[in-house]
Symmetry: C2
Amino acid sequence: MNNFTYKNPVKIIFGKDTIKEIVKEIPKTSKVLITYGGGSIKKNGVYDQTVKALEGYEWYEFAGIEPNPHYETCMKAVAMIKEKNIDFLLSVGGGSVLDATKFISAAACFEGSDPWLILSQRASIKKSLPFGDIITLPATGSEMNSGGVITRAETEEKLAFNSPLTFPLFSVLDPTVTYTLPVRQIGNGVVDAFVHVMEQYLTYNEDNTLLQDNMAEAIVKTLVEEGPKALKTPTDYDVRANLMWASTWALNGWIAQGVVEDWATHMIGHEITAFYGLDHAQTLAIVLPGVMTVLQKQKAKKITRLGKEVFGIEGTDAIEKTIKAVESFFETMGTKTHLSDYNLGDEAIDKVCQRLAERGWKLGECGNITSDIVRQILVLRK
Amino acid sequence: MNNFTYKNPVKIIFGKDTIKEIVKEIPKTSKVLITYGGGSIKKNGVYDQTVKALEGYEWYEFAGIEPNPHYETCMKAVAMIKEKNIDFLLSVGGGSVLDATKFISAAACFEGSDPWLILSQRASIKKSLPFGDIITLPATGSEMNSGGVITRAETEEKLAFNSPLTFPLFSVLDPTVTYTLPVRQIGNGVVDAFVHVMEQYLTYNEDNTLLQDNMAEAIVKTLVEEGPKALKTPTDYDVRANLMWASTWALNGWIAQGVVEDWATHMIGHEITAFYGLDHAQTLAIVLPGVMTVLQKQKAKKITRLGKEVFGIEGTDAIEKTIKAVESFFETMGTKTHLSDYNLGDEAIDKVCQRLAERGWKLGECGNITSDIVRQILVLRK
């Protein structure tokens, strides 16, 4: 097990009818900016619950944060914060809104020449505005971590950032607000969470990190058991609660501590989204089975373990069957797993590989996934 | 799943040679009081490493905190803190030293008539001194929670407290410092952690809390797989690291969120320790198989699940076999499971039941374990 230092200070407020609890967390004298997306929170009652809770506060709103949130959009929110002297942010929405809010909280206090440096150069975040969130979509785990991913539309770049100063102060998780989510978003969310765990688990595993491996499997088993139920019975509270909580745990940092991590699937997937706008989870569902196939020797021990512990697969061809089981699970969740399902082919492969070659990135836990290997992976996923 | 609100702000510093990291966490201007126990830290090098790290600080030491730490001892430390104007505590030792340090941190700032009220009346803790710890014994989980248990020697009472203000700021977990622990302490530690998980898992389970159940099993599987190895190969780093980390997770609060909890085994066990001075884990090893047997109908679903997932037991008599497997595991770890192993019998049973009857406690997740049921449990464990 590798050495690690980690602290996760997010206060989780979990359960039915908990949105009103935000008043205990936001100082009464705050000037609050509510950040949100395309307005689905106005249809499902979350906006109304939030506004009601904020009665007596001075608050403003910033709408229109898109999926795969844009740097350009974030900077408009920063301008508004400066104009209105906002001192507390409240993200209301899914992981994209929250990722954007994290970036906005840092960008609003950034003292360098350009907040874009936080993404392009990993410039250190030295100050941020306090923020909390009401999460409406179980998927990204953003509600209990300090990272985010932002896209610069202008240059088609999708880049990540992370800082101890961009943890939410609190996150409200009310599983009932997920009842009305479209099937596609539920499916995507489960796939996203599943792949988050894989990035922290499905590695070469020379080391013995038994607790973390057992915990990773605990999360994945929950997703595999409850995911399909969520599609069939959308208002089963416990199913939604288990999925929401499992998604949080898939990326709250704890299962990553002391272990080797991969993240190749995400890095490749980000490029597909940056060029073609696919949902984040769709790109993961395409790429992961390819990574597992091409890297199967390196990852053999863990793929075998995943098959046995999560899918009950043992015996001959266990690795092949496990990869197939992962792909089938994604399809069961309604997330298609091949480039052709999204009308992409050789041109897309060329474009992604060319950019990765230009960057010279060597991905994966062994730093051995060059653009040539990415090509092998993607060709399998046509 | 029940609603919950939880935040665990402890910074974990985990790994080889990490004691020196404390200097990054303790303000240089602090007046530090090192609290410790009987001096084993002077034999295994931990004291020397700590003192070396604190070079340049103004520091004092308070030794002699006993296992099942005494209120009377804690109050001596409080007097020293006031005399020397101490403003930072550093616990160096196992869970007893840390529990005592938590209590001392609160008692030193207590403004009521008598800090004993924190234990006897659950008086609210409104202030505490900051503290961190170097944990030397994987067992209690005290390094990542905000609770403690203190014994008043004078009246033979052992009582618990808890407060958001008694979380350690940081905890250093260096698995190598556990290499030299006596076999009895390693065995006890594994039993203690095992029973902590059971208190949060082995309940009536009407609800569906799949993630928490899977995570509880992840921790217990780690203890069952690694525990016996730790006795055979005391210097296997990964085994010690897995056990240390699993013990922390057994009681850091996360697997308790949203679930029903029991804690009857602990409450009964505390009385046995208070009267007869048995090790905490010894009392748990005695009591748990009795609780499982007497409450087997109520807990049937979870006992069956434990048997299957952790011990691979299925089919007829699965419940009986699982209870036996738990008892055997404790014995394998060197912790004896019957009252007679400690020269206790009917007199002890009478004494414990009489006190519980006087208190009128109704224990367990259904509040149905009266002193009569405790008698049934203990009679089985003679």
